[in-house]
Symmetry: C2
Subunit: 216 residues, 2 copies
C-alpha cells in the first residue's frame, strides 16, 4: 500500500465495499479480467475515478490490460482488513439487533461475533442464529475474559451513553453505531462507523423532491 | 434556492440531514444564534465547508452575525422536502421492517406511511405500531386505490427484483432500498436511497485496521 489507511479520504473508503461486492459478483459470474471502463459502467462511476481510487492504494493492473477480477478482489479484501478475525459483540437483541445478526456476514467482513447482550430477561439465555444472548449485567465479566475489540450498538442513545465509556475502558475500540450517541466526538482513538437510518429517509425525501423538480 | 436540487453534489445532500439533526438539538437546548465556526466545531467540519454547503442553496445569515438556529433549521427542512406528505408503503415485516417502523419518524421526514406488506400469513392482518400489515397479493389493488409514491424495501434481493418493476409501473417513484437490488441501474426517473448495512461493517473493518496501523 502506498498510503497509510488513515490518509485515504472518507469517500474512497466508502466506495471500497462497493468495489468488493461488485468484484465478488463478477467472480461468481466467471469474469476473469475487467477494464476500468467496464467496471466504471457497472458501478456507475467514471473510469478515471476508478483509476484514481485504486491509485490511493498503490494501483493495480497494467494500463490497457484491465484488472484481474480475483486479484483485485483479494487486494481490496486485504485493504478492508476482511482477512482479520476481530472479536465482536452486539448490544441490543431488539428487532434491529435481530435483523443485523440475521443478515450480516461477520466472518466475511473480518469479524468474529461472539455474543449478544440485552437487558430483557425474556431473551437472555436464548440464541439468535447460533449466538448466545447474555445479560448486560455480565458484560464486564465477559470482556475481562474474552477481550472483544469491536461492538455493534443496536441500543438507544441513552443506553449507548451509559455503556460506551465502560466498553472503551474494557478495551473495545471499534464501534458499528446505530445509536445516535456521538462516540467519535466523545472519544479519540476509537474507530467508529455511524449508521443513521433516519438520515437516509430524509435524503430520500430530498431525492424525491429533486425528481419532482426535474419533471416540472 | 439558487441551484436546482438535482445539481447539488451527493456529499452535500448527505450532510443536510446531519445539519438538520444538529440544529434541531440546538433549538431544543434553547440556542438562538450560532456562528459557522461554532456549528463547524459541533459537526466536526470546517467553517468554510459549512459556508460552502449552505451557499449551494443560496446562503443564509449575514457574514459576522451568525445564523438564526430556527430559521436555518426551517430552511434546511424545506430543502429536504420534510414539509411534504408523500404517501409511502413498506415491504417486508421481518425484523428489519419492524425495526424501521418502530424507530423512524415518517411524518417528520416528509412521508406518510400507509401500510406494510408481507407474504407471511402469520403477520398479515396484524398491526405494527398503528400500521396494518397487508398481504403482498393485495399490493396492486392497494396502489390503484391509494397511489403511494414511495416505498421502503425491507425484503431480500429476489423479492425486490420481482416487485420493483411492478411498483414502478404502479406509480411508485421513490425507494428507500435495503435490498441489494440495483434499482437505480435498472430504472431511470426514480429516486433511490440505498442503505447497505453490510458495507458499513466492512467500512468499520477498514477503520479498525487504520486505527491499528496508526498505533503501531
Amino acid at each position: 500500500m502506498n498510503n497509510k489507511r488513515s490518509e485515504v479520504s472518507g469517500a474512497v473508503i466508502r466506495r471500497l465495499p462497493r468495489y468488493y461486492r461488485c468484484l465478488l459478483r463478477l467472480e461468481e459470474q466467471g469474469t476473469v479480467k475487467i477494464s476500468s471502463r467496464e467496471l466504471a459502467r457497472i458501478m456507475d462511476l467514471t473510469a478515471s475515478q476508478i483509476r484514481q481510487d485504486l491509485n490511493c492504494f498503490g494501483g493495480f493492473g497494467q494500463q490497457g490490460y484491465g484488472y484481474s477480477v480475483s486479484a483485485l478482489k483479494e487486494e481490496i479484501a486485504r485493504i478492508l482488513g476482511l482477512d482479520g478475525r476481530k472479536k465482536m459483540i452486539l448490544l441490543g437483541a431488539g428487532n434491529l439487533g435481530k435483523a443485523i445478526v440475521g443478515s450480516l456476514d461477520f466472518e466475511g467482513s473480518g469479524f468474529d461475533l461472539m455474543a449478544i447482550f440485552d437487558t430483557n430477561e425474556w431473551v437472555v439465555g436464548s440464541e439468535i442464529r447460533e449466538y448466545p444472548v447474555i445479560s448486560t449485567d455480565k458484560l464486564e465479566d465477559f470482556c475481562h475474559e474474552h477481550h472483544p475489540e469491536a461492538a455493534i450498538l443496536c441500543i438507544p442513545q441513552e443506553g449507548a451513553e451509559l455503556l460506551v465509556p465502560q466498553l472503551v475502558e474494557l478495551g473495545v475500540r471499534s464501534f458499528l453505531n446505530f445509536s445516535h450517541y456521538d462516540i467519535d466526538i466523545e472519544f479519540s482513538n476509537v474507530a467508529v462507523e455511524n449508521v443513521y437510518i433516519a438520515d437516509s429517509l430524509m435524503t430520500l425525501s430530498y431525492r424525491a423532491a429533486a425528481l419532482e423538480e426535474e419533471q416540472e
